[in-house]
Symmetry: C2
Subunit: 194 residues, 2 copies
């Protein structure tokens, strides 16, 4: 894998040539086509993915067959089914490329080897996890106290780059509203209603 790509992923880490080589041995570049499923609900999970370009979506299908979008992941984010990746359980969600994407794959086994040989990487991921946990708490509070319109505005601010490229039913399912409500909210915002 290109050295520049490794610097891009681990930009917060001071990387020696030796460390770059070690990382290159345990990371794999993956091209993923729009519509492709990387992780499937009920199956084993071996990988987490860094998004170099493109966009992914995680969703789960409930017992009634209804789809719920949990998260979108854009450039420079990591994504996986974490009960699967961290705890060896079966995936509780699906992860799908919603645009043609270039991803960097890190297997569980590769990760263990890296952690054993490269303590700075443990710090790197510990800091990422702290931000993830803080974001989860913020999102939980937002989901309880924001109106659908406020949630949509937060979505646009977080995912500014992808809003135009994501299907309306994905956005509506992420916000927990109908497509009709999404359309009404957009019209209100376009008209400048507060």
């Amino acid at each position: 894998m290109e050295k520049s790509l490794i610097h891009n992923i681990f930009k917060e880490v001071d990387l020696s040539e030796e460390k770059i080589l070690l990382l290159a041995n345990h990371l794999t570049k993956v091209n993923c086509k729009k519509g492709e499923l990387l992780i499937k609900q009920g199956e084993s999970v071996s990988n987490k993915y860094f998004i170099y370009s493109g966009c992914l979506r995680s969703f789960f299908i409930d017992e009634q067959g209804k789809e719920h979008t949990l998260q979108f992941a854009i450039k420079e984010w990591w994504i996986s089914d974490y009960p699967g990746y961290f705890q060896g359980r079966k995936a509780i969600m699906n992860i799908e490329c919603i645009q043609d994407s270039i991803l960097i794959k890190l297997t569980k086994n590769g990760r263990d080897i890296l952690f054993n040989n490269f303590p700075e990487l443990e710090t790197f991921f510990r800091l990422k996890f702290e931000n993830t946990i803080a974001s989860f708490q913020k999102r939980t509070i937002a989901s309880l106290s924001y109106s659908a319109k406020e949630k949509y505005i937060q979505f646009v601010n977080t995912y500014a780059e992808i809003e135009q490229n994501v299907r309306n039913y994905h956005i509506a399912s992420y916000l927990g509203i109908t497509k009709e409500s999404l359309s009404r909210i957009r019209k209100e915002i376009a008209k400048g209603d507060s």
Copy 2:
């Protein structure tokens, strides 16, 4: 602080006498009375807490003055407002002792010193964070797909020890239902309705 207490908190870590001393210097035992607030919405956050005994609750108050219970934390859990603790923001929630509790406090500063001197501790917290992230994903899916009754059953399974000691309005607010619905669900379960 007692050596046995440190072994209890860090039971997954191989501790030398020197490491125990270092930990003892950066952890503080705190007695917290029922009703006491440890973290207040809008204020700075300096500490995270390990629950040695007792029970804590995190909640936030929305713009309409309505209280939402986010989490209960019981024996051997860690709790804090993480946007505050990890990212230096103002607290987005309150954390309250709902029983007289014995807590072990870890300051941000103490934590930084420990991480710098004690790499095994970084692994210890990295693993805790992985479990936290996996739990958040599971809880998000449960909140989208479970009925109120299923959520209550999951609550009872998770918090078996405290269910009898927590006020009904805390449980109802955690489940996002009214006290009347909670009462109805309990009656259905007592009658053995499926």
